[in-house]
Amino acid sequence: MSTATEPVDVHDPPRVTTQSWWQREGADNAKRNLALLGVMVVLLIIGMVTAPDIFLDGKNLWNNEVTVLTQASSIGVLTVGMTFVMISGGIDLSVGALLALASVWCTTVATQSYGAGAMIFAAIAVGAVAGLINGSLIAYGKLVPFIATLAMMLSARGLAQSISGSHTQINRDAFINGFALNKVAGIPIVVLIFLAVVAVGWVLLNRTTFGRRTIAIGGNAEAARLAGINVRLQTVALYVLSGVCCGIAALIVVSQAQSGSNTHGDLYELNAIAAAIIGGTALTGGRGTIIGSLLGVLIFTQITNLFIINNLQLDLQRIINGGIIVVAVLIQQFRVTSFWRKPASS
């Protein structure tokens, strides 16, 4: 083989190629979220056509959308935690059960007797500890996340049942109940909590090393490890985060249902996962946004709200729901030029 030609350094000065806005950093995500916003608008338009009395009257519309946000708040908080876990390539099937367990734990007579502070602490601590167990089983016990959190889901529901004796535990703490009853600036406190969690989640994911490392683990765990990231510790932290979200969601549900119960949060895990995926989070990890998940949750809640307002029968609701989900994702998909993605089923 021959040797080099000349000492090469003929690089032009950096050529600023013209980039459209959507080609810039994060443009994909922005496009996706815009499409979701489009779906949301379509739903509102459907509302205007089918129930003009509610959707065309400013005050009613405001009230209705506040109701939607209120209904979305507990599942929305769970979805924020779920988004982190899913971006890291994991999954947390235990969120609904942890919500139930935390709600039961924080509404036992004993806990209630110590007041709101103790209840808040109990709910969040239960979530955090359960998350710690999930995370440890996955990071150190090397269990698949699906199985570890499935086991947690079963155990947590069982424990909730055994603590409550399957009774609904009335919450008599006025402060906690006030989250659902009281409003600030016309917005119920539960909604404010929800939005606060979303905001914190956004900052955490996009602006901190914690968030960047979460993406790294999900995108390429081996690369993350070789880059010196403590993958295990990060994994544990992520499930703790999800657990804490369960605790917060439990407080929201307790204030809304004015009770703790082992039946709370039934199937919320599925809804949270579905909302995150609709919002653009990849089940395989490495990709996802908080805003997308938020929109995913709102779309689901808005659909249910439309159904109820239009007095649709449950069977019809379900059939249509399936169709809407497919359409929503398809709309989103055709917005994103997708040539680099693997084809089908991958």
Binding site: A4, T5, H11, D12, T208, R213, A216, R225, G228
Partner: protein
Amino acid sequence: MTAPPAQPPETSPEDVVLRLTDVVKTFPGVRALDGVQLEVRAGEVHCLLGQNGAGKSTLIKILSGAHTPDSGEILWQGQAASFGSPQVAMKAGIATIYQELDLVDGLSVAENLYLGHEPNSVGFVARRQMRRGAAAILQRLGHPEIPVGREVGKLPAAAKQIVSMGRALSREARLLIMDEPSAVLAHDEVQNLFRIVRGLTAQGIAVIYISHRLDEIREIGDRVTVLKDGRTTAANLDAKSTPNRELVSRMTGRTIEYVFPVRPAARAFDGEPLLRVEGLTLPGRFADVSLNVHGGEIVGITGLVGSGRSEVLESIYGARRPSAGTVELAGRRLRRGSVNAAVRSGIGMAPEERKSQALLLAEPIYRNVTLAGFARYARAGFTDAGRERDAAEEVTRGLDLRPADVRRPVRTLSGGNQQKVVVGRWLLGETKLLLLDEPTRGVDVGARAELYQVIRRLADEGVGVLLVSSEVPEVLGLSDRVLVMREGRVVREALADELDEDTVLDLVMAGSLLDGADLSSDAVEGTAA
């Protein structure tokens, strides 16, 4: 075999920063390292040579904390050290560029450069600082045109390699390890890389450099350590003066030369071409490419990385859907953008990126070799594992695959051996036209010679071959006819005899890495099956 006495070049023995003694590492069924000795001095470029599977990558993974050795001693800057995890090794001042790309596709260039040590204040990423730092690193690497905010997943392979290098440079390292960094780089990029390496060694930083290209080792290396079958067979040879013959014989235990099979001189290929491509266009990638390949002919395409060669192959193969143009095989027009149609009519392609495009890592070797043809060994839909194994064994023996047991998972093979599996897949027969994209990437000199002979033999049997390679001598030496591409266009077509390396480099050199890449184009066509 033991090492001949070292001939210290310009550095003195006190400068030894790293010394390995009798390092052993065993994987189930394979002793990857079987007593390795290595001595690296400050400010030198120490080259590691060895056949595919000799244990080079395993050795550097031990140094970088990715693997822990079973036994042996590591002296780092005079003190016994053990690198239990990548963090420890990095703290100690060892930075590594791995053989397989280790980037996170979903993060931006800047974030990848600083992954694991992001500039931050109380956990909040200092984004401006990071972007500025990243831009500075890329500037230093001579690639200010790579946008620091771009998602790495959307960069071409060569740009990824540069980011990978930048990541290692973003750390304050005393020792920089590079595992086949030049495998995805074209000629000018390699020069650029060497310029950077020289800058580092001038600061007293030690570099371990792995490559299968002997000429590179001559150019940049100071001393050479040769591994064979997990053992050090020669240590501290002088990189400039040791003859090729000796290096190769130390590596392989036999004497061969780095060669190309004889091209049957003055062959005239007229008559109907086997493959006829007319006006093929993929917006933003390449335009109006016309070419043909006759049965028995080897046609090489060369050009800069990013000039669109891979895309031409992929479009012919149907893996991408071109916007215009036709592909005809033996007079029959192929359906645009359908791999199935291509495969059914007898085209095979060994793609460029083995891990993501070619291999089932968890599956055994033989199933990877027969991936495109297991149906041929099946009867009424029922597979025949025995026949598949036999067929795979025959092919892999011809390529000197090590270890030879075809029931091993591909995952456990070294990089070069994985490449042999990828190419081997299309040597099983019944292929009329073979598209080879960088077929020798990471393949050692010995196996390379054997691979060349296999390709030539196929051609002699009447198979048409279209070959893409960044190594100009390879294209010139192996092909009957050569096409030179630049910025998505064919700029020259000639018989290989009529060209020499300098002419080709002149033709190619008119632009830099990303000229042809056209990162801004939005008219990108989707892949389609």
